[in-house]
Symmetry: none
Subunit: 228 residues, 2 copies
């Protein structure tokens, strides 16, 4: 029998099979939050080893579903563009209509968006608030891609030993892009020191085994006063 039907359009099986692997689907779903995540985090998310995740990520990059920014020894992976997110959402909506099984969004996700640790510094909404507050108070100065120290009053209030930090080779201040907020926030040894101080002062603490930072009500007030 002859083949009568025109094969038209691009090959949908390539894209679909990329999304079709469970590990890759988990990776993509995790990235759908808009956060840029490291290879290790994505490996955890997909419940595979780092090597396996690396192989998957290579394929996703090659298939133009995912891109990454190298930052130090980390690679921050994110979805390539809005089209990818939109396609994944389409499939989700479709799958939801075929399959009643839905998974709820847990409260932890909200917390993560609110305040989380990014390597060793504060990220999420509170991370942005910290950055904005310091900038507003002239404690830091930003010029394009470069960031520098300004008025040190706030850091002195926090009793942070700036001098010893400045002795290290490691940069005191660095810009770190937050993909959930699409904004810069603060990284570097000073940012780390600030977060450590917040914890020492009892303003915030890490939730064990997670990246969540939990601010106490009083801690939040003190934080706001500091940057007022």
């Amino acid at each position: 029998m002859k083949v009568n039907y025109m094969r038209e359009g691009p090959d949908i099986s390539k894209v679909a099979s990329l999304i079709g692997d469970p590990a890759r689907a988990n990776i993509l779903t995790a990235l759908l939050s808009g956060k840029a995540l490291t290879a290790r985090e994505l490996a955890c998310e997909a419940a595979v080893t780092a090597q396996t995740a690396s192989a998957h990520l290579s394929k996703l990059v090659e298939g133009k579903l995912v891109s990454f920014n190298a930052s130090g020894r980390h690679r921050y992976y994110k979805l390539m563009d809005e089209d990818v997110a939109s396609l994944l959402e389409s499939i989700m909506v479709f799958a939801a209509s075929k399959d009643i099984l839905k998974i709820r969004t847990g409260p932890k996700d909200v917390q993560l968006r609110e305040a989380r640790i990014c390597y060793n510094h504060l990220a999420g909404e509170m991370g942005i608030a910290l950055f904005d507050g310091l900038l507003r108070n002239g404690a830091i100065e930003v010029e394009g891609e470069y960031i520098g120290l300004g008025d040190t009053e706030i850091f002195e209030t926090l009793e942070i030993d700036l001098a010893s930090l400045q002795k290290q080779r490691r940069p005191i201040l660095r810009l770190c892009l937050d993909w959930s907020m699409r904004r810069h926030h603060l990284a570097g040894s000073l940012a780390q020191a600030v977060l450590e101080r917040f914890v020492e002062l009892g303003w915030a603490k890490r939730v064990d085994g997670t990246r969540i930072i939990e601010f106490t009500p009083n801690g939040r007030k003190s934080f706001e006063n500091l940057l007022a």
Copy 2:
């Protein structure tokens, strides 16, 4: 390390892996014509044996992407619903944008690009022309992702029974993305009715065994007059 991120939404990998197999992708693409095809025809389309196709079709049925009507010793398979067609089109558009090389332009492709059936409605250049014309005449109203009915005069001219269409649960109007034009065109029960009317009026007809819609010279003029 523990998994910290909440997985949200249904499992997209099941659906994607169903579409991800080349043979199944060919089957689904063939069914995008809207025609119900037998297992044998689909086996040919996918270039596999009947047994293999049978296994694939079972999976597609189980995954609710495809349904069939048994008629004697034949089984006529078709896409489950318009959502499936719409999802497949989405993936096509996406794949086309990522991989331009995959789009082949054969001689018959010209006809396909001009006017073809997309599941059950008109696509291609004529599909775009229909959409634009209806919009220009105020017969439809578009607001972002949403589309609604406007002035019904044109549909009355075509003697389309709008009332009975509106009684159905199926949406009358829907936006369908066209992979070749990268533009929206009209889908939904009304779009289907319009195409059926074009055929009834002798303005156009399906080329057997393909997805091509052929407009007669007079039909094309009537079409243009209608939307003038």
